[in-house]
């Protein structure tokens, strides 16, 4: 495996968003054999193969060393890889694919509002009916871990009924008493006469760029990784920063340099021209201060890319894997 293998969701909004994410960084996803192909590439860098898989498969392949990088949901990573140390590293949240993993009970359980209520109902059910509540879910590990922090144990206080699809229908069908499932708007949960517990949000998930630490990281794959990460980081920095320019009167040059620190460039004499790259969130405050220092023609530009010498994500990988 001397090519860098990247797992990308094969269909749906995740796939579209993943394509946009790469495209913004100047890398274009290609797909062999049309929209149904399982293989493809990334134009703009050498030595990269793309595999189109389901989000769950991507998580599994990252765990088993079959992928160097993958785009998948945090929920699936945490479920498939409860202990990520040495197995996978979540490099970057991607700002799409937002969904919460929640505990939802029948809306008819008007007396149950919190996880503590559910705990109490579990005890009462065991005393009264000699059984414990059944939870339908595909998130076996996440559920055990979350309820474990609330003092509840699998088999003793509840039972897990593995459900790979249509989990929300289980209580109505009688195959479970409540569910743990992923939801974005909550509409499907409400439509099935269920409600989310007040403190029952187990995980706020979004899509992440994830590195597989068990893959074969030969030298060529590290080079390809650097090429990919350079562009991704440059796009991210570009997106998160703005270029600010302004004309500074000569007598304010020192004051401005003091206020802004080393990162700004001031050239020319009177007026001097200031140029700086600052985080987008700081622009308002900065322009106020500049105006107070008599700056004129303050302009703000969006940036496509900002390339720096250090590629932080690459450094992180190198540190983790001892390159």
């Amino acid at each position: 495996m001397s090519r860098l293998v990247i797992g990308v969701p094969s269909k749906g909004r995740l796939q579209e968003n993943a394509a946009d994410f790469f495209a913004r960084a100047g890398l274009n996803l290609t797909r062999d054999n049309g929209a149904r192909g399982y293989q493809g590439g990334l134009s703009g860098v050498e030595g990269v193969s793309v595999r189109y898989l389901s989000a769950s498969e991507i998580a599994r392949e990252l765990a088993s060393g079959g992928l160097h990088l993958g785009i998948t949901g945090e929920d699936l990573i945490r479920e498939t890889i409860p202990e990520t140390d040495g197995v996978a590293e979540m490099l970057m949240p991607l700002g799409f694919g937002h969904a919460d993993v929640v505990i939802a009970v029948p809306a008819a359980w008007i007396d149950v509002d919190s996880v503590a209520d559910f705990d109490d109902v579990s005890i009462a059910m065991r005393l009264q009916d000699g059984r414990v509540p059944r939870i339908a879910t595909k998130y076996l590990n996440l559920t055990r871990s979350f309820l474990g922090t609330r003092g509840m144990a699998d088999h003793r206080d509840y039972r897990l009924i593995e459900s790979s699809g249509a989990t929300e229908g289980a209580p109505a069908a009688g195959t479970a008493d409540l569910i743990v499932d992923i939801t974005s708007s909550g509409a499907t949960i409400r439509a099935n006469a269920l409600k989310v517990l007040r403190d029952g949000t187990m995980l706020r998930s979004e899509a992440n760029l994830v590195a597989g630490l068990r893959a074969d990281w030969k030298q060529q794959t590290r080079t390809a990784l650097m090429d990919v990460l350079v562009r991704i980081e440059a796009e991210q920095r570009g997106r998160q920063n703005r270029e600010v320019r302004a004309h500074i009167p000569a007598d304010q040059i020192d004051a401005v340099k003091m206020a802004m620190g080393e990162t700004c460039l001031v050239s020319g004499a009177d007026p001097a021209e200031l140029s700086a790259i600052v985080p987008a969130d700081d622009v308002s405050a900065l322009s106020t201060r500049l105006r107070q220092m008599s700056a004129r023609r303050i302009s703000v530009r969006q940036l496509d890319y900002v390339f720096e010498e250090q590629v932080l994500l690459y450094d992180r990988m190198a540190a983790l894997l001892g390159w």
């Binding site: 008819a108 007396d111 088999h155 003793r156």
Partner: protein, 369 residues
């Protein structure tokens, strides 16, 4: 060691305990349902080709009880000696180690049987040269009787009972479940529920649920939901735990001292508060009397009201024996009364059941503290 184990076998045989050897490979479900967190976390699991899950037995109590139940149950005295399996990652202790012990079913004279078992445990320690073990006992039945006598709302009764298994004391539990704001969202309904009697209030809520088309969603009948909803409404109104009750719970838990003095303290506490815990306390006193008759020095026995086991099947006496030089070191022998065990294993009626187990290597292995 072999010599010591022979003497142990002779001792158990002398009192009529027959050696049994249940399978090492056990179905996993009873342990998952009944064992404490510590055991569950450390089990070695496996499965057969058809997918049935098994474990390597982490203890003997459940395997012996299963075998006894399958053989028809009833009265019986059994002893055991063999390896059990619990994952221990530190090098000092191995994951496979020897346990020995006894199981005694079907004896209806609880106080007498408890005392005889405890005496046998003390004799077992003496076999290992420990003539003055630290003996700590508690009684789960006494705790239950105290909670019952306080006539707490069901929600609180369950919470406090459950906290035993979670290694938190009553005070922590009382503070943790502070303000439940849920019912505040329905002030008009809450007021209505509080103004009448519980039975009427429950029927009102049950009717409303039925009107809205709720049948038996998620395995809870409208009646059950209504009853708990009404109870929450009343708790929110302050019908929860009074300061007086809180003080009684904290005082009860604090009682920990020489056997007779501790029981007297419990009796005084209950007496002053007008709580009827008579029969549970009588059992404790009768057991004390039997122990004294058997020659046990009760001034050396600690009775600790906070001493509980994180297991649902214990129903009465629990005890630990420690080396006198290592009170906080690993226990040498531990046991108690678990009348609920047979019922939980067999899904049938309960049967008196007591027993203890000993850590063979700690007692006889020469790695004394």
């Amino acid at each position: 060691m072999a010599d010591a184990l022979q003497r142990l076998a002779d001792l158990f045989a002398r009192d009529g305990f027959k050696p049994v050897d249940p399978p090492i490979l056990q179905p996993v479900a009873p342990f998952l349902e009944l064992s404490g967190e510590d055991v569950r976390r450390r089990m070695f699991l496996t499965s057969d080709p058809t997918g049935r899950d098994y474990c390597l037995r982490p203890d003997f109590t459940i395997p012996v009880a299963r075998a006894h139940h399958e053989a028809g149950g009833g009265a019986g005295r059994f002893s055991y000696l063999g390896p059990v399996f619990r994952y221990r990652p530190d090098q000092e202790q191995q994951s496979e180690f020897l346990q020995a012990g006894i199981e005694w079913y079907g004896d209806n004279d609880a106080a007498m049987a408890d005392a005889q078992m405890l005496t046998l445990a003390i004799e077992t320690a003496a076999l290992a040269g420990i003539t003055d073990p630290l003996i700590r006992i508690g009684d789960v039945g006494l705790v239950a009787a105290f909670l019952d006598a306080l006539d707490l709302p069901d929600i609180w009764r369950r919470r406090l009972w459950r906290q035993q298994g979670r290694d938190a004391d009553f005070a922590t539990c009382l503070n943790a479940f502070g303000d439940d704001q849920h019912i505040e969202q329905f002030p008009a309904l809450a007021d209505l529920l509080r103004s009448g009697d519980v039975e009427n209030a429950t029927r009102v809520v049950e009717d409303v649920l039925s009107i809205s088309g709720v049948d038996s969603v998620g395995g809870r009948a409208p009646r059950t939901i209504a009853a708990r909803f009404v109870e929450k409404a009343r708790l929110a109104a302050g019908e929860g735990i009074s300061d007086k009750t809180r003080d009684l719970l904290v005082a009860f838990e604090a009682i920990n001292g020489p056997h007779d003095a501790a029981l007297d303290a419990v009796a005084n506490l209950a007496g002053e508060a007008g709580l009827d815990i008579g029969s549970a306390l009588d059992t404790c006193r009768a057991r004390g009397k039997s122990l004294r008759t058997a020659g046990v020095d009760l001034t050396k026995v600690r009775f600790d009201c906070r001493f509980v086991r994180p297991l649902d099947y214990y129903t009465g006496l629990i005890f630990d024996l420690h080396h006198p030089d290592a009170p906080d070191g690993g226990k040498l022998i531990g046991g108690g009364r678990y009348d609920a065990l047979i019922a939980l294993i067999g899904n049938g009626p309960s049967d008196p059941a007591i027993g203890f187990s000993l850590w063979v290597d700690r007692l006889f292995g020469g790695d004394a503290p």
